[in-house]
């Protein structure tokens, strides 16, 4: 099911007591989620991603704007009539019911022609439980399950009624690191198997990048960028997206463009043809550094960290906006007793942003926006 959000806005009046005014949690959201994809809604905490999810779910009413599932306008529908399944961050399993009762709960609420017999309910519950591989645990109570198992029950409950859209709110945040990796692949598998359009919210960019077909990056209630993870990573439209995606984070420098050359400090580090003379923020991905004997960029070397396949070179530079610079280079290209390291830069890994707006300046001097 394709999901279309049109000018979606959520304003909480009187939320911000200090300012005495309203808080705009989601501001003029406008995008389309293709059918049958896994979408990662990504942003720092408080950016409005959960509010967006709740509005798609129907738990919160948008202040303005419309929501479509396919061609149906669901903006005014209550959650139960939208055909959504939701997995809450806390899982929200009913603690007094068994796993089976938890999963059949949505089925018991069906009315009229949709009403099911007990046997049909049990069969559907078992089918959902099999999908998430908890069919051995049907008679346990949630308190007798591990965190990962509880999450599977929550997913089974959300899926049992064949929703058109599956929503997951921070599905991995309550799991330990090992289980997190395993569960995110599990979510990917379940989504692929069912083909249900799935949106999940996370603040962890690695999580979103690793399993999503598309990511939607949000900040302060405003949509920043949307696209396949690699594309957004390689081609950020603004400084926020560039900084938010990628570990280690992008290195940002105060730079100047003069005569189609990017200067960091006094050194001309990269040719930027067609770019007008101006002050810029220059973002360089950690993998954008290449060790080279005649490289133009010479930061002060702090230490070299071995990570196995790659080596992380930690340096500092007065023009850098953070205390340290981190460059990731192949281990065989760096000698450990080096006192000075010279870098050349990969043009595709260097992005320029306008000083005032943070918008991307593309080679050729055109500004996004």
């Amino acid at each position: 099911m394709k999901i279309v959000l049109q000018h979606l806005t959520k304003i909480y009046p009187n939320r911000n007591k200090k300012v005495g005014g309203e808080v705009v949690a989601v501001n003029d959201f406008d995008f389309e989620i293709p059918d049958g994809k896994l979408i990662g809604l990504l942003g720092p905490s408080g950016c409005g991603k959960s509010t967006t999810l709740n509005m798609i779910c129907g738990l919160e009413k948008p202040t303005r704007g419309r929501i479509f599932f396919g061609d149906d306008d669901v903006t005014e529908l209550p959650p139960e009539n939208r055909g959504v399944g939701m997995v809450f961050q806390s899982y929200a399993l009913y603690p007094h019911l068994t796993v089976r009762q938890n999963i059949t709960f949505p089925l018991e609420n069906l009315k009229g022609a949709e009403k099911l017999t007990k046997a049909q309910m049990n069969e559907k519950a078992l089918e959902a439980a099999r999908l998430v591989q908890i069919d051995q645990l049907m008679d346990r109570r949630p308190s007798e399950l591990s965190g990962g198992q509880q999450q599977r029950v929550a997913i089974a409950r959300a899926l049992v009624n064949r929703p058109r859209v599956l929503l997951l709110d921070e599905p991995l945040s309550n799991l330990d690191a090992r289980l997190r990796l395993q569960t995110r692949e599990e979510i990917r598998r379940i989504q692929t198997e069912t083909g249900i359009t799935t949106i999940f919210v996370t603040h962890d960019q690695e999580e979103a990048m690793s399993i999503s077909d598309q990511i939607v990056v949000m900040s302060a209630g405003v949509l920043q960028q949307m696209g396949p993870p690699q594309e957004v990573y390689d081609d950020p439209v603004n400084l926020f997206t560039a900084r938010f995606l990628g570990t280690p984070a992008i290195n940002v420098f105060q730079g100047t463009v003069r005569n189609e050359q990017l200067y960091i400090g006094e050194a001309a580090v990269l040719a930027v043809p067609g770019t007008a003379d101006q002050e810029v923020f220059a973002g360089i991905r950690p993998e954008g550094f290449v060790i080279s004997d005649d490289g133009p960029f010479v930061p002060e070397l702090i230490r070299v960290e071995v990570m196995g396949r790659d080596t992380s070179v930690v340096c500092s530079h007065p023009a850098c906006t953070t205390q340290t610079i981190r460059a990731i280079v192949p281990s065989d290209s760096v000698s450990h007793d080096a006192e000075i390291i010279r870098f050349a830069l990969k043009p595709a890994k260097v992005h320029l942003f306008a000083k005032d707006t943070g918008l991307r300046i593309r080679t050729g001097g055109k500004q996004d926006g």
């Binding site: 139960e80 399944g85 939701m86 929200a92 009913y94 007094h96 709960f105 949505p106 069906l110 409950r157």
Partner: protein, 297 residues
């Protein structure tokens, strides 16, 4: 006994001494009193040992009246007060504006003195040469005839008694239930809404089971409290409860000890032990029912 354990017993000692002197010994003493036949409090002597005191008390019409009154009070006020408290708590929990104000209003009876509240009830219900009482004014307005709630028919007095008891125990129950309701994870309600459960079903299938331990607690303490009712009766009907026909078991015990017809500690002890057995039985039944239906560990 190792050092740690000795220390633990040492910490428990003060409480054990006081409980022993003021709880265990008197309880034992009451049992002894209750089987001493023909006890004379002046000479501190008795004729023999047996169950005569119990036989006497169980045949005493005043005791039977008190037993009946107490049972009616328990059976009516515990479910009614718990139900009303639940209703009010759910209401309080679902409003946002003026919530604190209403919470305070509902809590006022709890901090008000029993006798003062009793006086207010007298004004509401009592017939005097000058007025028929506030409640009778309302009855008149709807075309009814005067009912004497304090000195009139038995059902009218019982109504006042139950009304008063419910009103007095309500604040505590509301306090407990509102906090129980507030502690239910709001995500559960959201999940139930997404799952398509109606309001009634959410209440029956989610809210009630989640707060059932607290409801159970209120029912048990409510039973025990209502069985021990006495002061409230005095506040409304005066000290001569037997004459008013509104005595309770505890009232009977008091009368047997200190009342105008008092001075019979053996009868008092027997009555007290009968009450003890009744309360114990009902509490045990409650616990068994609870264990059978226990769902949240």
């Amino acid at each position: 006994m190792d050092r740690e354990e000795r220390k633990a017993w040492l910490y428990l000692l003060p409480a054990m001494i006081f409980l022993g002197i003021f709880m265990v010994y008197p309880l034992f003493d009451v049992m002894v009193y209750s089987v001493e036949e023909g006890y004379n409090s002046a000479s501190q002597t008795f004729r023999g040992v047996g169950l005569y005191n119990y036989a006497y008390v169980l045949r005493d019409p005043y005791f039977l009246q008190a037993l009946k009154n107490t049972f009616i009070l328990v059976i009516i006020t515990v479910p009614v007060s718990t139900g009303i408290a639940l209703l009010i708590s759910v209401g309080l929990n679902s409003i946002t504006r003026l919530k604190e104000l209403f919470q305070t209003i509902f809590f006022l009876p709890y901090v008000t003195n029993t006798l003062a509240v009793g006086l207010v009830f007298m004004i509401l219900f009592k017939k005097t040469p000058y007025s028929d009482g506030f409640v009778n004014l309302i009855i008149h307005f709807f075309g009814g005839s005067t009912v004497d709630f304090i000195e009139g028919p038995y059902w009218a007095k019982m109504f006042v008694m139950c009304f008063y008891t419910v009103w007095v125990v309500l604040p505590f129950k509301i306090l407990i239930l509102t906090s129980a309701l507030a502690s239910v994870d709001p995500d559960l309600y959201k999940a139930a809404r997404v799952d398509g459960a109606s309001k009634g079903r959410i209440f029956r299938k989610i809210t009630l089971p989640m707060i059932s331990p607290m409801i159970f607690y209120l029912v048990i303490t409510g039973f025990i409290g209502a069985f021990k009712a006495y002061a409230d009766e005095v506040a409304i009907f005066g000290t001569n409860l037997n004459a008013a026909g509104m005595n309770t078991i505890v009232g009977f015990v008091y009368d047997m000890l200190y009342g105008d017809s008092g001075g019979y500690p053996s009868y008092a002890a027997a009555a007290a032990l009968i009450l003890f057995v009744i309360v114990l039985t009902i509490t045990v039944i409650n616990l068994l029912v609870r264990r059978k239906n226990s769902v949240i560990s």
